[in-house]
């Protein structure tokens, strides 16, 4: 009780302070992060996007964020806090925030929400995602060129469609160059755990892979690859600093362009719910510089990137078989998005049993 009184005594001063500072008309754009904004991977990429919004629309908007928000009841509270603190547009940047976002959105119909990588929308909830698999196709091609043994190691997080899609795209890319190419998969069952990811990397290298790629967030696998003298691909952020002699390229999440576009629409009063799934051509993901590879491989990678951007090449195009050899796509036939978004099978060439 005394605590309350003590604090109340200081309140009057603060309210005056807050009122003076509160004399602005800027729109508030807010972000909820699952990790730390300096994680070097997933969350950092979102925070760079947030900074881009500040830079480009800085005179009209103000941004705020909450970091290290655990998925679950804490997320609901964090999102509600933002909604109540006057945020007009809130980006929730982890799949696990989906139900919390939808729940709070019902309570605050005037606030707009955007949820990354989910599938539930509402009049005031949009979803957005990035076609990461386009980058993985390019990586697969590079891997097939660079690998002497014809086997790559893949550190995967959870067996959800998003991740399975990435594995398949990598294999399809690799086998377009070397039809006998194989990959080995280790499920780390985490997005962010340097220890587990490093262990997975070591296990894969011990099994004889000479190229490493990851669908987890830390630079630990890159560091292990550097120590063991093999090549690797970065994930979510450019990880060249962790492996200057190691990184071939990285899929870099560049959410900024999307964030700016949506914030602008919000300012103009033209925001509408969508399920956006942009790719390389829209700039929502970019490839880090192609390094540590011969010029001909680099030229191939750049050519593939250009073809994907122009729409000439779609990674999931037949003829393609499923893992057991059953036909999936006919010659020239491309997969529709719905199949990709619910993907729960491997294509030919994956040396792993999909956890079901």
């Amino acid at each position: 009780m005394k605590k309350l009184l003590l604090a109340l005594a200081t309140t009057t001063a603060v309210i005056g302070f807050a009122a003076a500072a509160g004399a602005q008309e800027k729109a508030k754009i807010c972000f909820v992060y699952v990790g730390s904004k300096t994680d070097g991977g997933w969350t950092q990429a979102h925070d760079i996007g947030r900074q881009q919004v500040e830079k480009e629309l800085g005179d009209k908007v103000e941004t705020q964020f909450l970091e290290n928000v655990p998925e679950g009841p804490d997320a609901e509270r964090a999102i509600e806090r933002l909604a109540r603190s006057g945020c007009g547009l809130i980006f929730t940047t982890s799949f696990g925030f989906m139900d919390a976002t939808v729940k709070i959105a019902q309570k605050f119909p005037d606030v707009k929400f955007e949820h990354a990588t989910g599938y539930k929308t509402a009049p005031n909830v949009a979803t957005y995602n990035s076609r990461f698999y386009e980058g993985r196709y390019i990586q697969g091609q590079i891997a097939a060129k660079m690998s002497q043994k014809g086997v790559a190691g893949y550190i995967a997080s959870f067996p959800i469609p998003e991740v399975v899609m990435g594995i398949n795209s990598f294999v399809i890319g690799a086998r377009s160059v070397n039809p006998d190419f194989k990959i080995k998969v280790v499920w780390a069952n985490t997005w962010f755990d340097p220890g587990k990811e490093a262990d997975a990397a070591k296990a894969l290298i011990d099994q004889g892979v000479d190229i490493l790629t990851q669908h987890t967030d830390t630079t630990a696998p890159m560091q292990v690859a550097a120590e063991r003298g093999i090549k690797a691909f970065g994930q979510a952020s450019d990880m060249i600093a962790a492996g200057p002699q190691t990184q071939l390229t990285a899929i870099v999440d560049t959410w900024g362009a999307y964030y700016v576009k949506r914030a602008q629409a919000f300012l103009d009063g033209k925001w509408e719910t969508t399920s956006s799934w942009d790719g390389l051509k829209d700039g929502i993901l970019t490839m880090a510089p192609y390094t540590n590879m011969p010029d001909d491989v680099k030229a191939m990678a750049e050519a593939t990137e250009a073809k994907i951007k122009s729409g000439e090449l779609k990674p999931f195009t037949g003829p393609l078989n499923k893992q057991d050899g059953a036909a999936w796509l006919k010659e020239g036939e491309s997969s529709d998005d719905a199949t990709l978004l619910g993907m729960n099978f491997y294509v030919e060439g994956v040396d792993d049993k999909l956890p079901q």
Binding site: Q64, P70, R77, F95, N189
Partner: protein
């Protein structure tokens, strides 16, 4: 020269009451200095920590939600600690309670009945108690150290939950994500008031605290707990069995932790996930000691700790400090409270070791 903690011959009644306030004042001062060094307005920072979360109704509800499991577990632990049984594994009992209580809504998800919820709560308590029975059995009959066994069993529970939600209990409609089905309407612990999200878990916590307070103060059982905790030998002369007390205190605290687990899952999360607790079982140990093992004190301590979590979030937004800074501030508060409490019972004495000093001189 070295520093020694020496037990005070008499505990000052005045300082026993003043100690939390002194600790709070010290936290304010040092926290204020820290915020000032970071270039933030210390008054604004402290305001967002301690006042902002209390100034709105929704936020008070969130406070109750966050405090409920801490209080419920802490109250159970106080019985254990008072009787000199060191159950460190409440986190595991919390998880096993949640799992046992979730059997009905996950496995028999078609079943709809008003009996669902009461049965879940009972199963949750049984689950937590049974899991606590393992270290209780090992201590009572094999004389093992319950600190070690109960702590190690936490990892067993965590990994068991992890296996369940990735394996047999995974939601078949959940896009392969590691989580169970969401609970049906009958399986959800309802909200207590129309004004916010607080569910009945908070009421359970308060009722449990009052009941334990009554038991400790007015019943023979309470007397037995205190006597056996302070002197096992004296307890034996009074005809109390320390073996029975091991069983009672461990099962009791396990049942409350299990109830906290199923309440949290049913009231707040509404499905099982690989991780359902941000360490409530461990934080509750701090809460129990912060409340001086007194059930009413534990209510206050649980609320204070919950307040620092909420305040930490508010401070991130209103003054833009990082999540790390708010944790440091939380640490400051705990440090001062616990050290002030220590200094009620002990005093610091500087012991000059002239003899030792002479010896080192000679060695040179």
């Amino acid at each position: 020269m070295r520093i020694e903690l020496e037990r005070r011959p008499k505990v000052s009644a005045l300082f026993s009451i003043l100690s939390p306030f002194i600790a709070f004042a010290l936290t304010i001062v040092f926290g204020g200095i820290m915020f000032a060094l970071l270039g933030k307005n210390p008054v604004a920072a402290l305001y967002s920590f301690f006042v902002e979360p209390l100034s709105e109704v929704w936020s008070l509800h969130e406070l109750a939600i966050k405090a409920a499991p801490l209080i419920l577990i802490g109250v159970g632990l106080s019985v254990c600690f008072r009787s000199n049984n060191w159950n460190i594994g409440a986190e595991g009992q919390f998880i096993m309670g949640a799992i046992a209580g979730s059997i009905l809504p996950v496995v028999f998800y078609d079943w709809q009945s008003p009996l669902m919820l009461p049965l879940m709560l009972v199963l949750g308590m049984i689950g937590g108690a049974l899991f606590a029975a393992i270290p209780a059995f090992l201590k009572a009959h094999m004389n093992t150290n319950e600190i070690l066994t109960s702590l190690m069993l936490v990892y067993v529970a965590q990994l068991f939950l992890d296996w369940l939600v990735r394996g047999p209990w995974r939601n078949p409609e959940g896009m392969n994500f590691p989580e169970t089905r969401t609970f049906g309407a009958d399986a959800i612990l309802p909200e207590m008031l129309a004004s916010g999200r607080t569910h009945w878990g908070f009421a359970f916590a308060i009722i449990a605290a009052l009941a334990v307070w009554f038991m400790m103060r007015y019943t023979l059982r309470g007397f037995e707990i205190t006597v056996l905790g302070q002197s096992e030998r004296a307890g034996r002369f009074a005809g109390f069995s320390s073996r029975k007390m091991i069983w009672f205190s461990m099962l009791f605290s396990g049942a409350l932790a299990g109830l906290a687990g199923i309440s949290e899952v049913s009231g707040a999360i509404q499905q099982l996930r690989p991780v359902i607790s941000p360490g409530y079982g461990f934080t509750a140990i701090i809460v129990a000691f912060l409340g001086r093992l007194n059930p009413l004190g534990i209510i206050a301590a649980g609320l204070v700790l919950a307040l620092t979590y909420l305040g930490g979030e508010a401070a991130q937004l209103s003054i833009g400090v990082s999540d790390k800074v708010t944790r440091v501030f939380q640490g400051l508060l705990l440090f001062f409270v616990l050290s002030c409490d220590t200094l009620i019972h002990y005093r610091i004495r500087l012991v000059r070791e002239r003899f030792a000093a002479l010896k080192t001189d000679e060695a040179h």
